[in-house]
């Protein structure tokens, strides 16, 4: 378990930098592909909902520090990690489709939580479905690529 925690931590730190300095610049309609959410979904699916929720909080906190905010990413990733935990994989049954669905659903939860927290009543409501659609699309593609290339082997 300790080895896995170390792996997730180091992987999270590396991906956070990639996210901040590369993927955040590919934003479309203010939404960038979220590699951290893909990692979080993977952790939640593999380790369960409790670990997913905790990992979500710390991953979000890390992103908050990178973005110069505090709490917003932590909350949205906590919600996303908790949501992804519902898709915990059973022993020996690793399916790409399940992973992509988990990424998509946790994206919906995470993006909704993020915009509700960040904007509150100032949120332009009709834009929220656009943010969600773009985010789900982006993250599903990134998630599929990551899962097919590396994550399914871990």
């Amino acid at each position: 378990m300790q080895q896995r925690i170390l792996f997730y931590t180091l992987g999270g730190l590396a991906l956070a930098l990639v996210q901040k300095f590369l993927l955040d610049r590919l934003a479309l309609y203010d939404i960038a592909p979220d590699m951290m959410l893909v990692l979080l979904t993977f952790i939640a699916q593999r380790e369960g909902q409790s670990v997913g929720t905790t990992a979500g909080f710390f991953i979000g906190l890390l992103m908050d520090l990178l973005h110069g905010t505090l709490g917003i990413d932590a909350l949205s990733k906590t919600v996303a990690g908790f949501t992804a935990g519902f898709f915990r994989e059973t022993e020996g049954a690793r399916q790409t489709t399940t992973f992509i669905v988990a990424v998509a659903v946790s994206s919906v939860a995470g993006i909704t939580a993020y915009y509700l927290t960040a904007y509150g009543l100032a949120l332009v409501w009709w834009k929220l479905p656009i943010y969600i659609a773009v985010g789900v699309g982006y993250n599903s593609v990134v998630g599929y690529a990551a899962y097919q290339s590396a994550l399914h082997r871990i």
């Binding site: 409790s50 979000g60 709490g71 909350l75």
Partner: protein, 279 residues
């Protein structure tokens, strides 16, 4: 109590964690401006800014797309401005030449703008925006700095109709500059060119010679450029040369003209009438 706690922790652990972390997050959001959390945020920014500096090249690369688009738009705007400026320069030069020509002219000149034109193969006409109220009269010559355009054939108080050289009814007496060969210039609509008629085969006219208006011309003074002899053709069995002329004025680019306010020479006109009687 202990059993209740165990029940809550074991069965609702995930929900408790979610609630706990959400509350912590909300507390962080609410207190992010406190000195302690502000220093945490600034320390985080400081650390990652140092790393970000090393990613400047990547940032620069992604920034280039936007910069390129901005430069492309600016380039298009500047191209339009350059086009306008270039036209203004050309127009300025053109008007300067006209002004210089007016200053050098023997007779007073009236500047006019061509406001309408009917160009067809045979009866080309120009309408200008000056008339009898501007001292314009029938038979006054119409010129530009390049040479003869035509003559006024109809006048109203504010407008006048000009018969240009490229009208089949137009005729003007011309002489060549070097050999002083005289002839009558007219427009041949069927061939779409100007020709000089009545030049005897004995004359020494050459291609490339400049054609000027002759002293015997009925409406214009002598030595106004008309064109250049383009081609001299001598056909067997004929008395006269067939001479093609390249006109000095480009009629398709004509926009402003001068009307030479040349007073009629009544004595000369009277003599011309008598001259025709004797013919």
């Amino acid at each position: 109590m202990k059993r209740l706690l165990e029940f809550l922790i074991l069965d609702f652990r995930e929900f408790l964690l979610l609630t706990f972390f959400c509350l912590v997050s909300l507390a962080l959001i609410a207190n992010k401006e406190t000195p302690a959390l502000r220093s945490v945020r600034s320390a985080g920014l400081e650390t990652f800014s140092a790393i970000e500096a090393r990613f400047a090249a990547i940032q620069k690369y992604f920034g280039l797309v936007g910069e390129n688009n901005m430069l492309r738009e600016r380039n298009a705007e500047l191209a339009v401005e350059v086009g306008i400026a270039r036209n203004a320069v050309l127009e300025n030069e053109h008007l300067k030449r006209l002004l210089a020509y007016r200053n050098e002219s023997r007779y007073p000149l009236k500047l006019a703008q061509i406001i309408d034109r009917t160009f067809n193969a045979e009866r080309n006409l120009l309408m200008i925006n000056v008339g009898s109220d501007d001292s314009i009269a029938v038979n006054m010559p119409v010129l530009t700095d390049k040479g003869l355009v035509g003559r006024v054939i109809l006048v109203s108080p504010n407008y006048a109709l000009v018969q240009p050289i490229i009208n089949r009814d137009f005729k003007v007496g011309v002489v060549t500059e070097k050999t002083r060969t005289a002839g009558v210039l007219s427009w041949k609509p069927s061939e779409n060119l100007a020709t000089v008629e009545h030049v005897l085969l004995s004359s020494e006219i050459q291609a490339g010679e400049q054609l000027l208006t002759a002293e015997f011309s009925s409406f214009v003074g002598a030595n106004v450029p008309v064109g250049v002899v383009k081609h001299v053709d001598r056909k067997a069995g004929q008395l006269f040369y067939k001479i093609d002329v390249a006109l000095a004025v480009e009629f398709d680019k004509l926009d402003y003209v001068f009307i030479q306010l040349r007073p009629p020479n009544k004595e000369k006109d009277a003599m011309k009438k008598r001259f025709k009687e004797f013919q």
